[in-house]
Symmetry: C2
């Protein structure tokens, strides 16, 4: 039974704090009631000014929706959701050791929660999206970086230092490519956006064609593959096997019932999902894969806002 | 705070059902009050006869300890602990789809639980052993096979089909050695007892020495390494890096605060723990490893009995 039908959540503002843009919305029961104006993150290099802009948009949303009971923010980086502290953000300077939850509570008068963005997205997909029926869920996002978050036994798994879910740094080859933290063979070193582009450019060059890496976006490579181009087809298959191999490890370790795959790279669709599912099926016992759903994310860009708002609304009921 | 000091459990019989022997004891608060006679598993090729012998020993223990309130059994194989069914046992023929919990309840008149042996051991180590202070714990056993079990957020993590924890089949190299289930690079294919022995024999042969694999037990190889023999030292370091690599993945994914390592191979002690800890330190960020304890199992052979008995006693209080 889906949690979505077990209760009605109260309306809350969900904020998806990204390195490029900050999106916000009033959310209730997983549905967007109203969108806030999008903030260009890079226009506000000072944390104070950016926070003021976020508060301004919260005020606009509340003026139209005074029934809002809480604010939830998903952020890309190391976030202490228990104490409400932003330790560091990826690609957003100036946000170091910011007590964001306390600042939001003080300046809005509303209860607030903050959470890592991958976990907010996973919570959204689990409550209202592609993993609605799951009890043990991995949500993985494929973009410039590869992130992840777990719902285990119906709860977000954060880990001892609230740092769990980093499937992009987990290894598919212990003697493989070096990663940023002394790690070797981390999935991100093979299937991050930039890595896929560089591999494609290299494959084209080996075939006598000069295609600059910046033209080898996931979208362009997917179009080439759908036209039947062998190099792009082969690359998507290899990427699918590599992602599948990382997921195989999660399957043996945690025996999930759903794996949700989102992010820009996932828009390659079946080009990616077919080799991923095949790899999991070939490398695990039937009991692990017969009832495992490996599905694309369903909430798109709204997943993070929906998850953050839902966590915030639920916290007011606890 | 340790759960051991939070409550007193009622006395229960814990049974460690192994492919070679079946051990039993009356347990209270993690301590053995009395041992049952050891059963030679292979003397009872029929499930009925083996169950009768187990019941006989339960009766003897209860005669001496009439205060026993429950029975818990840890079994090596696929066990449905929710419905109390033994699906299959590793190395014990005749135990297929046995409703063991119902049989125990019917024939002893006591409440009973059954559990996978790795999980029973992990629960014992978590409640009373090496992982007492942990909240997110992996317990891994290194023997002929490599098994594992997770305590996450203070509860046993069983997974969607109750099949979680198989770190021996999770991969350290997605293009590595073939495993029994189509899997590739499974940890067990590198560091299982027999694999270590075969590797040692091969290394000796390459160095011009004929040492049969059956002489290359973990104990013999540990003794050789402690005498300073280069081949054994190098092999233990390689095995430690391989085990460490598998644990690195668990650390990135789940951010545990304790990893407990048991089983015969773990008796190599620092020969193994030094490269394991070094590998985790080198390949993860400080936040993951600074507060992570990687420790040997503390309860030895009694861990499974203690865990099973504790689960059984706690079930009577639920």
């Amino acid at each position: 039974m889906s949690p979505a039908f077990m209760q009605t959540t109260r309306p809350a503002i969900g904020i998806d704090f990204g390195g490029t843009t900050i999106k916000s919305a009033v959310i209730q029961d997983g549905r967007v009631l109203a969108h806030g104006a999008v903030i260009d993150t890079q226009l506000f290099p000072q944390a104070d000014a950016l926070l003021a802009e976020i508060l301004r948009i919260i005020a606009v949303l509340r003026a139209a929706h005074p029934e809002v009971v809480a604010v939830g923010v998903g952020l890309p980086g190391l976030v202490d959701s228990v104490n409400g502290i932003v330790h560091t953000l990826t690609n957003v300077p100036g946000w170091s050791e910011v007590p964001l939850r306390a600042l939001l509570v003080e300046r809005t008068g509303l209860p607030a929660i903050i959470e890592n963005d991958a976990r907010a997205m996973a919570y959204g997909e689990w409550k209202y999206g592609a993993a609605r029926d799951g009890r043990h869920v991995l949500c993985i996002t494929l973009g410039t970086g590869v992130g992840g978050a777990f719902i285990l036994d119906g709860r977000i798994h954060r880990g001892a230092q609230l740092a769990a879910g980093e499937i992009g740094h987990a290894s598919i080859d212990y003697r493989g490519l070096p990663g940023p933290y002394g790690n070797t063979g981390g999935l991100e070193e093979y299937v991050g956006n930039h890595q896929i582009a560089a591999r494609a450019a290299q494959l084209y060059r080996a075939a006598g064609r000069e295609v600059p890496a910046e033209h080898c976006t996931p979208l362009a490579l997917a179009e080439s593959a759908r036209r039947g181009e062998a190099i792009a087809l082969g690359l998507w298959d290899a990427v699918g096997v590599e992602i599948g191999a990382a997921l195989v490890n999660v399957v043996w370790l945690l025996n999930p019932d759903a794996i949700v795959i989102g992010g820009g790279v996932a828009q390659a669709g079946d080009l990616l999902f077919t080799p991923i599912r095949r790899t999991i099926r070939e490398r695990t016992q039937a009991i692990y894969h017969d009832n495992l759903r490996v599905v694309p994310a369903a909430l798109g860009n709204a997943a993070g806002m929906i998850g953050a708002a839902t966590l915030a609304a639920e916290a007011t009921e606890a």
